[in-house]
Subunit: 218 residues, 2 copies
């Protein structure tokens, strides 16, 4: 059974693989806030276990076994976040830290029960897909709000990143997933967008923010 540390490395590798191209040791060590030698020795360990492809000085990647293991940890993480929000009333900005710990609990029954009680949710509170029991992920191709044009009416469905601060910021603007947004105008100079939503809300969102908001055309 993978240790807590091993599970965190697998998860980090999976995430890095999905949002960048080649993974270097330094990416991994930075993401996990450990030194490169630490990451290096853990990668060797995971290699021994057949979970990562590794050759000296080459980029790192997960084997299919590794991908599956990683997906299952991510499944536990996201089910937990969803459970904390839906069943325990936590705000979406509070749940990541807790899930980071709960994801390591060894009890298939616990996560199966969360899944059932939640009605087999497909996404977590930040709009990220929840892998199924076999580690399969249904990738949706969403658009960034920043790519929308004036007049577009779209639904906010997910976030590309969900730091505490970003979530707090969205809270302060009353922005939440599922919301319909109207793009009023786009400033070509800096990419600022004016959007309106919820009857009488109107906000100017920076390009930096719009890049992180994923939307779906109805």
């Amino acid at each position: 059974m993978a240790s807590q540390a091993e599970e965190n490395y697998l998860k980090a590798l999976f995430t890095l693989a999905s949002d960048s191209g080649e993974i270097g040791l330094s990416d991994l060590s930075e993401m996990l806030q450990v030194s490169t030698p630490t990451a290096n020795s853990m990668v060797k360990n995971l290699h021994q276990q057949g979970l990562v492809h590794y050759e000296k000085y080459k980029p790192i990647s997960l084997t299919s076994k590794g991908k599956k293991e990683a997906s299952l940890v991510i499944r536990k993480h996201r089910l937990t976040e969803m459970y904390l929000v839906e069943k325990m009333g936590f705000g979406w900005e509070k749940v990541h830290e807790i899930a980071e710990q709960v994801e390591h609990i060894k009890s298939p029954a616990l996560f199966e029960r969360m899944d059932e009680l939640l009605g087999h949710p497909k996404i977590d509170p930040h709009g990220s897909p929840i892998p199924d029991r076999n580690g399969k992920i249904e990738w949706k191709s969403y658009h960034k709000l920043s790519e929308c044009k004036p007049g577009d009416s779209i639904r906010l469905v997910a976030l590309t990143h969900s730091s505490d601060e970003f979530l707090q910021y969205l809270n302060s603007k009353r922005l939440s997933l599922g919301l319909m947004l109207q793009v009023e105008s786009v400033e070509t100079f800096d990419g600022n967008m004016a959007i309106s939503y919820l009857k009488n809300h109107r906000e100017i969102l920076s390009a930096k923010v719009c890049e992180k908001l994923l939307v779906e055309k109805e």
Copy 2:
């Protein structure tokens, strides 16, 4: 912050203190399934932290600081068990193993929320008291079923031990906490007791079982 291992030692020491007299290293090492030298070095470590009283070759005991810490871990354990049973539908025989892990999660908010959602329960699914936020425990003085006499009508309120097997056994006899029991007869030779309950259930319980069932006179 106490590590997972440290928390387990504190909890073991607390439990040993409440159900035996003097605590020897061997009791501790046996309870935690580690070697005596391992327990010995951990006890020294906890002593350094002011959590246990320790002098070479003398019995071990928790300091008041240690007792409080231990109680708070037990609080987390029992709240978790209660939450799993009441809110997630687990059987009382399934929850100990999960709680053994969840009790180490560092998130006061998680346990506060469990407590609220449960309506600040005073006892866990096995009838053991849940310490309050300050680690205070309300000790109830229950009677053992084995001390009851024919004709007694009492309520089953707690268990002195709750191993998986014992809980399964109780399940098979449809015995659960809160139930009213009538003592029909007691066999003086071996202490076997005939009890009736739930309209039409009638069972002979061994002395071994009756010792582990705690009851309250209405």
